[in-house]
Amino acid sequence: MRTESVLQLLRFKEIGAIIALIVIFAFFEILNSQFMSISNLTTILETSAELGIMTLGVNLVMIAGEFDMSVASIYVLVPVIFEFLTLSGLPSIVSMIIALLFAAGQGFINGFITTKGHIPSFITTLGTEYLWLGVTLAITGGYFVSLTKGKNIIDIFSAQIGSTSLRLSILWFIGLTIVFYLIIEKTKYGNRVMASGGNPAVADSLGVQSWKYKTSAFVISGITAGLAGFALFGRFQSIDTSFGTGMELQSITASVIGGTLMTGGYGSAFGAFLGAIILSSLDNGLVLAGAPTFWYQAFVGIILIAAALLNIRLKTSLVGG
């Protein structure tokens, strides 16, 4: 088959996402020549940053063979906790550390319940997703929470860079992508996360305690969801639970488009990066093309399936059946 031979030449995990990105860019550029302008490309990057930072963590959990559905609640709850702590008079740096410790702690709970209770992480994190959504609604009363005292420290995630329209969140997204790439591909930890996702029984029999690596991935995913929440809080200066709606599924979608397997043991941080960019380019391109926004979801569906079909063939040629 021709596609097989093309894939032989381009044997790397992210090729599916790169092809999808090129097709989408070409398509929208034809519809509207403004699409590839510098200012629009920066807009795409900027809107992808929050989803992207979250996706890096979710992607790691998927490589560890699990799912994290709770990120959408954590994305909102962490900035809310931060805001309430600063209002209570705590220094903003302390408030931020406590909010992130909460993010890490809830991730540990997700991992611990999943691995020690032997239930699917989809269920564990769906449960905690509801739990933290409920808690967020209860402490905010369902109202918007505005950024007040902690503005200065939140700026490190979302201030504009100089006089450009770029925000710092883009640098966080790019920087964290490189960090996650190095962790996954180049470290002992990454090797063991992949093994724990690929075959936990083998990992365990070799003395690699897979539950620890799976649980740590949930901890990291909690932290990235929290960081993404800070970037969001800085961009909008206020937050409510509706901001998180659907983000857990979007981050899984971005990971899958990026070539990560739903079954664990295989995935890429650059793929997740591209997946997030693809989702925001779709959104952006459809707006520029003047299409009603609900077409966004239809396109996401098509891209998701197309990318998954391509990626599973790619995976077979890379690491076998």
């Binding site: 002992k188 090797n191 093994a195 690929g198 083998v202 990992a203 029999s205 003395g207 690491v319 059946g321």
Partner: protein, 248 residues
């Protein structure tokens, strides 16, 4: 002094007595065929050796010293390497990543530690070649390899990391004829290096060629423990297993 000596090993699973007081010992460099029908207690015995299960009763001595509860990882550190049929390697990972899984070599770059990929690729290639194991590319994923190749990689890994006792769980099951030959040769090579091998198998002919002693279990009891040098042919062993013949 035996390398491994087990006395009166009992193990129950609820009401089922998997092992009813089994004695077992193996010397350095010895190859033993562990035989028996399904449910005879072979896998319970090797899982106790592996440290995966702990005996309910009985004594285990390793190099003359009594050993108590240990984890599979501790057993491996002591030099007991168990190669399970399907639990040896992670298919999605490359050969070198599997070879060093749990024992990765790192190199420092500033304050960070990264995998020393070059070194691990080099060592795993040489270690496998040294045992006569032909793997085209240690960079390729294990899923591309045949069942026989996977077994030999797991054995090579154990040998490289200083195993004194290799326990091979049905290494020749579901493997092509040519690969059976490669595995048998590998067992002979390993034994020459002074490493003891427990070869768990159904196929008496595969075991008979390489083993010098045969231990036969039946419903949790050791029914025979005989030496090939005492004139036991493969057919004799088979007859004992089928209950058609008594131990001489």
């Amino acid at each position: 002094m035996s390398l491994l000596e087990m006395k009166g090993i009992k193990k129950n699973f609820g009401a089922v007595q998997a092992l009813k007081g089994v004695d077992f010992q193996i010397e350095e460099g010895q190859v033993i065929g562990l035989l028996g029908d399904n449910g005879a207690g072979k896998s319970t015995l090797i899982k106790i050796i592996a440290g995966y299960y702990h005996q309910d009763d009985g004594v285990i001595k390793w190099e003359g010293k009594e050993i108590f509860c240990r984890t599979p990882a501790e057993s491996r550190q002591m030099g007991i390497e168990v190669v399970y049929q399907d639990l040896a390697l992670v298919n999605l990972l490359s050969v070198w990543r599997n070879f060093f899984l749990g024992r990765e070599i790192e190199t420092k770059k500033g304050i960070f530690k990264f995998l020393d990929k070059k070194k691990m690729i080099d060592i795993s290639r040489k270690a496998l070649q040294g045992l006569g194991i032909e793997i085209p590319n240690v960079n390729s994923a294990v899923a591309f390899l045949s069942g026989g190749q996977r077994q030999t990689i797991a054995v090579g890994r154990g040998v490289y990391f200083g195993a004194k006792l290799l326990v091979l769980d049905e290494p020749t099951a579901a493997v092509s004829l040519r690969e059976v030959e490669a595995i048998l040769q590998l067992i002979e090579e390993v034994s020459k290096r002074g490493i003891a091998v427990i070869f768990v198998a159904h196929n008496i002919y595969h075991v008979h060629r390489v083993a010098e002693r045969f231990v036969i279990l039946e419903q949790g009891i050791k029914v025979a423990d005989v030496k090939k040098s005492d004139g036991y042919s493969a057919e004799d062993i088979m007859d004992i297993m089928l209950g058609r013949k008594q131990v001489k």
